[in-house]
C-alpha cells in the first residue's frame, strides 16, 4: 500500500529560505522518506491576494508528475469561486484548501460557511491548516493568527455533508474539537499527524487510543518541516500493520473517494 502525504507544498515560502521547494526537490524528499504520493498545494499562492492564481501551475505540475495530487486553493470571498471548486472536481483533486486567516476572512464567517456547504455538496474535502510555522519563530511581520478550534467546530456544524481535513493541529486542539463535536460531526473531520508529539509525551499514542485510528492521516508539512518527523513518530508506535496502513493510506483514500 502506498504512503500518502496529504500535507505538502511546492514553491517558495515568503518568510524565510527553505530548501527543496521545487518539484524536483520534493520528489527527492519523497524518495528519501519512501513516500509514494504527495497531495500538494502551491505555497506562494497562499500569500497572494488571489491565491487561485497559483492553481494553474499546480495542475500543470501535477499533470507531469503522477506522484503529485493537486490540492488547489480557494478564496470564497472572490467572485466566481464556485468555478474554482468546479475545476477541482473536474481535475479529480483529492481536496481543496482554504486558510481563511491568510485571506483576511472570518474563519467561521459567512464566506467560509458558504464554502463548506459547497464542498459538502460537491463531495470535496476541505483542507485547513491551523498554522504553517511555530508561532514563536515567525517573521516579525508574519502576524496572521492561528486557526481557532472554535472555527473548526463551527464549520463542521454549518453543513451536514462537509468533510474537513485539518493539518498542523496539536493534541489539545484536536481533543477540543473532537470532544466538542457530536459523533456524526467528529466522523467528518480528519487530522494529519504532522504537529502531534510522540514520546515521551506520547500525544499521538493517546489520541489514537482515545479518538481512534480512523480519524488520523499521514501528513508532513514538507518542505517547511522535515518529512522524516511523521515517519519517525509512526516508527515509535507499536502499531499493527493494519492500523499503520490506515493512517498512511487507507483513511486518506477513503476521504478522497467518499
Amino acid at each position: 500500500m502506498p504512503r500518502i502525504d496529504c500535507n505538502a507544498f511546492l514553491g517558495a515560502y515568503p518568510w524565510r529560505k527553505v530548501p527543496g521547494t521545487s518539484p524536483d526537490g520534493l520528489l527527492q524528499a519523497l524518495g528519501r522518506t519512501k513516500i509514494d504520493v504527495a497531495w500538494v498545494t502551491h505555497l506562494p499562492g497562499l500569500f497572494w491576494r488571489d491565491p487561485t492564481e497559483g492553481n494553474a501551475w499546480l495542475y500543470e505540475t501535477a499533470r507531469k508528475e503522477k506522484r503529485f495530487k493537486p490540492v488547489p486553493t480557494l478564496h470564497p470571498a472572490l467572485p466566481s469561486w464556485e468555478r474554482v471548486l468546479a475545476d477541482a472536481v473536474t481535475a479529480k483533486a483529492p481536496a481543496v484548501r482554504c486558510d481563511p486567516l491568510y485571506l483576511g476572512l472570518d474563519p467561521a464567517g459567512g464566506e467560509m460557511r458558504a464554502l463548506a456547504t459547497a464542498c459538502g455538496a460537491a463531495r470535496m474535502p476541505l483542507m485547513l491548516a491551523v498554522r504553517l510555522e511555530d508561532g514563536r519563530q515567525r517573521h516579525p511581520n508574519d502576524r496572521v493568527a492561528e486557526l481557532p478550534a472554535a472555527a473548526v467546530r463551527a464549520l463542521i456544524r454549518s453543513d451536514r455533508a462537509v468533510r474537513l481535513l485539518v493539518t498542523h493541529a496539536d493534541h489539545s486542539f484536536i481533543e477540543e474539537v473532537h470532544f466538542g463535536s457530536t459523533p456524526d460531526e467528529a466522523r467528518r473531520i480528519w487530522w494529519d499527524i504532522s504537529w502531534i508529539w510522540g514520546p515521551p509525551e506520547d500525544h499521538l499514542a493517546r489520541l489514537l487510543d482515545t479518538i481512534g485510528t480512523d480519524r488520523f492521516v499521514f501528513g508532513t508539512g514538507q518542505p517547511l518541516r522535515l518529512p522524516e518527523t511523521s515517519v519517525a513518530k509512526l516508527d515509535l508506535l507499536d502499531l499493527s500493520p493494519e492500523r499503520r496502513r490506515a493512517i498512511e493510506c487507507d483513511n486518506l483514500q477513503a476521504l478522497a473517494v467518499a
Binding site: Q137, W197, L224, L226, E228, K233, D235, L236
Partner: protein, 266 residues
C-alpha cells in the same frame, strides 16, 4: 553509539501524575532509536513546589537526588546534569560539587538568571575546574521577557562564553522555539559554544543552517521533550552527511565535550 545531550526525567514530587509512564516512555523510545546514553536533567519540582525555571534550593536538591537515583538505577543508560539556580550562589556551587562527585557529568542552567549575568561566573569557574560542560536553556532570539522564566538568548550566552573560553557551553534546543537563525549568526565565531539540535522544531533548512554556521564539529544530537523530532533530525542529518561526519554528531562531539570517562563504549 548515540548520545542524547538534552533529556529530562520526572519524579514523584512534580505535577505529573504520569511521571513513571513518561520516564518509561523515554527509555523505551530510546531503545528503538538506539540511544546509548540519555544525558538528563530534572528542573527542581517542575513547578510543583517552586517554579520550573526558578526552583527553590530545596527543590533543586530534591530533583538532583531523583536524577542521581535514576542514574544509579540505569547506570548503562542515564547520565546527569546537575541543575542549579544561580541566584543561590553558595547552594549552587555546593550542589555542583556534590552531584559531580556522585557521578553527574555536566551542569544545567535553565532560566533563573540571564546568561550574561555575573552571578553565572562562579558556576562557570567551577565548570572549568571540573572540566564539565554547561547546558544553557536558550530562547532563540528573545525579543522580550516571557512569563515564568528569565530566558537567555544566544547573544547573552556568547557574553558568558567569551568570559570563560575554557568552558564548553551547550546552546540548548536550537529547535526549541524562537528564531534559530539569530542564534546561529551569534554563535558562529564563538568556538566554545556547541549547538544542541533538540526541540520540537523540524524546520526545513534549519540543519543546513546549523552546518553552515558552526560546522559538523560543534553539533550535538539531542531530543528534549520530543523524541520523534530528534529522531527525524538525526535521520535527515544521516542523509546529508558522510558516515564519518554523522558519527561526530551522534556521539563523538559529545564524547569530546563531556569528561573522558562519561560514557561507556557500546
Amino acid at each position: 553509539m548515540l548520545i542524547d545531550v538534552h533529556a529530562h526525567f520526572f519524579h514523584a514530587r512534580t505535577p505529573r501524575a504520569d511521571w513513571r509512564e513518561r520516564n518509561a516512555s523515554r527509555l523505551t523510545a530510546g531503545e528503538k532509536i538506539g540511544i546509548t546514553a540519555h544525558v538528563a536533567s530534572i528542573l527542581g519540582s517542575f513547578g510543583f513546589t517552586s517554579p520550573t525555571y526558578f526552583p527553590s534550593p530545596r527543590d533543586v536538591t530534591a530533583g538532583n537526588d531523583a536524577l542521581l537515583a535514576l542514574q544509579r538505577a540505569h547506570p548503562d543508560r542515564i547520565r546527569g546534569y546537575v541543575c542549579v539556580n544561580p541566584n543561590y550562589t553558595a547552594h549552587a556551587r555546593a550542589e555542583i560539587v556534590r552531584c559531580l562527585d556522585a557521578g553527574m557529568i555536566g551542569i544545567k542552567l535553565a532560566a533563573s538568571r540571564r546568561a550574561d549575568d555575573p552571578l553565572l561566573d562562579p558556576i562557570a569557574v567551577l565548570a572549568r575546574d571540573r572540566r564539565v560542560p554547561v547546558l544553557q536553556h536558550i530562547w532563540q532570539h528573545r525579543r522580550r521577557d516571557w512569563p515564568g522564566q528569565e530566558a537567555s538568548d544566544a547573544v547573552e550566552l556568547c557574553a558568558l562564553a567569551w568570559r570563560h573560553p575554557d568552558v564548553a557551553f551547550i546552546l540548548a534546543h536550537i529547535g526549541g522555539g524562537g528564531d534559530w537563525q539569530h542564534s546561529l549568526h551569534a554563535v558562529r565565531d564563538v568556538a566554545n559554544i556547541y549547538v544542541d539540535l533538540s526541540g520540537s522544531g523540524v524546520d526545513g533548512g534549519m540543519l543546513e543552517a546549523c552546518l553552515a554556521s558552526v560546522g559538523v564539529d560543534r553539533l550535538l544530537w539531542g531530543s528534549d521533550i520530543t523524541m520523534d523530532t530528534g529522531w527525524a533530525k538525526l535521520r535527515y542529518l544521516e542523509a546529508l552527511l558522510s558516515p564519518q561526519d554523522a558519527e561526530l554528531v551522534r556521539w563523538k562531539n559529545a564524547a569530546r565535550v563531556f569528561p573522558p570517562d562519561a560514557f561507556q563504549a557500546d
